[in-house]
């Protein structure tokens, strides 16, 4: 199995790919567009894409890309984001004068960095990619620079972990989805917990969303995630919502609610029913 993801070897998406599809080969792509294009052209079998971060919200462009590319969801994995401070093996902590990483990673570690480097205060340098920063550091043999990246990056690029788990918040999670061009057709089993994700469109008028949520509520379906977006800009007559809810389209609740949803919406785009990550339970 060939799995595509966005990023460089060692990226958090690469970690999620290894967990969601073990014993596969993994191919990093420059951006989300290229990863989706590879799936469309079948140069990869599946892709692993982050759809939401507990801090940063929806991941850029992904909702639009999944809707446009007829993608189905096969599985989810909720990865706890753990940032490591990495350096070449000859580097001494007191010699570090600069730390490179993605701006988001720098932000997510700033309290710990201030504490760790209280006296030496290295320069913080934003770069485009955490794993790429690790790769370049290895290639440079530089002993005064460090990077913030994943533990997988440390392993791939043979860097030492100067400080482990330097992220300030311990509740920073990213939700990754294994996506495929075919509906997953996981048959419903009574003793398992499923999630169903979909985008629905309704007329952009008062009370429209409440009506839909009442249908879910009437059938004991839990809403796990909702986000509105208006595809044609702020003046659109159509409102769209991405939701993830509890249940499987073949279970007793959702199988009755789905036809009611279809009847009440302009459009429903179903991404499929898949097993919930056990971290949710």
């Amino acid at each position: 199995m060939k799995i595509g993801y966005q990023g460089t070897d060692g990226a958090y998406s690469h970690i999620a790919s290894q967990i969601l599809s073990p014993n596969s080969s993994y191919i990093g792509f420059y951006d989300f567009f290229d990863a989706f294009a590879a799936l469309n052209q079948q140069t990869v079998d599946k892709i692993v894409i982050p759809i939401e971060n507990s801090y940063a919200g929806r991941v850029a462009d992904v909702h639009r890309l999944i809707a446009k590319n007829n993608i189905y969801f096969e599985a989810e994995y909720i990865l706890k984001i753990q940032h490591q401070l990495l350096a070449n093996h000859a580097t001494k902590p007191q010699d570090i004068t600069e730390i490179l990483s993605h701006e988001q990673a720098i932000m997510q570690c700033q309290d710990n960095l201030k504490r760790i480097f209280a006296t030496t205060t290295p320069k913080l340098i934003p770069v485009n990619d955490t794993a790429d920063a690790a790769k370049r550091l290895m290639q440079s043999n530089n002993t005064t620079s460090a990077v913030i990246a994943s533990s997988l990056s440390a392993k791939i690029y043979n860097l030492q972990i100067i400080h482990p788990d330097i992220q300030d918040a311990q509740d920073n999670f990213t939700n990754f989805i294994l996506m495929s061009k075919k509906p997953s057709n996981h048959p419903f089993q009574n003793n398992k917990n499923y999630i169903t994700s979909l985008i629905f469109a309704i007329d952009n008028k008062s009370g429209g969303l409440a009506k839909i949520l009442n249908i879910l509520c009437d059938h004991n379906i839990d809403l796990l995630k909702i986000e509105s977006y208006i595809p044609g800009g702020v003046k659109s007559h159509k409102a769209e919502f991405f939701i993830s809810c509890s249940g499987h389209t073949q279970d007793p609740n959702l199988s009755i609610a789905m036809p009611k949803l279809h009847a009440s919406c302009l459009d429903v785009k179903l991404f499929g029913s898949y097993l919930a990550d056990e971290k949710r339970l």
Copy 2:
């Protein structure tokens, strides 16, 4: 009036700052944390912060920061994102071998770039900041590089616009908010359109959100934006929602709905009522 924003001179946030608070002085900060810290320490009077992009969704960390810092919303401005291809004045279009910009900006222009540079295919280089790329280009006097940045960047850094408006999508908008430490207290006027933004928390259980939306619906309040997030991670007993809805807390509808909302929620954090950007009308 001193206005803080995140970014470098010429950033899209800088443009929004000039529109939301004309005739002020503007100060760019390295990240959102620094901009909020400056407001807390009163080194700036107000800040202008993007809260949502029509493509990329919620802006990283902002919901968390506004809740934590007791911030109030004073006004909104919906900026159409227009990317310009900029170069030094001596640069000839056919000599361009590389184009630098933020990864998002590169992605948002890729179809047009392929069309414009069909034969020469310059290298696309992701950097951390569009306006900073423009500044460095000016300083370098390089005549084979171009950058993708705003028209304000062209003006500030004296660069020529090689190709105007090269964004692929014409419906790419970012919603900026003028934020202050004091509630805005815009008195309600009958002939104006207002938005009210708030975060509310409810028990993380079935039907909770539907109940709240039914209150809004019963009082003819339009939902303009909703996003769920679970502050303590996926297992939290509490669910939080950021919403923007039509109306003013002093108008006939919302003034009756607000006490009902308070009664049905664990917590309501009100950011204020402010004039709707006329692009919404």
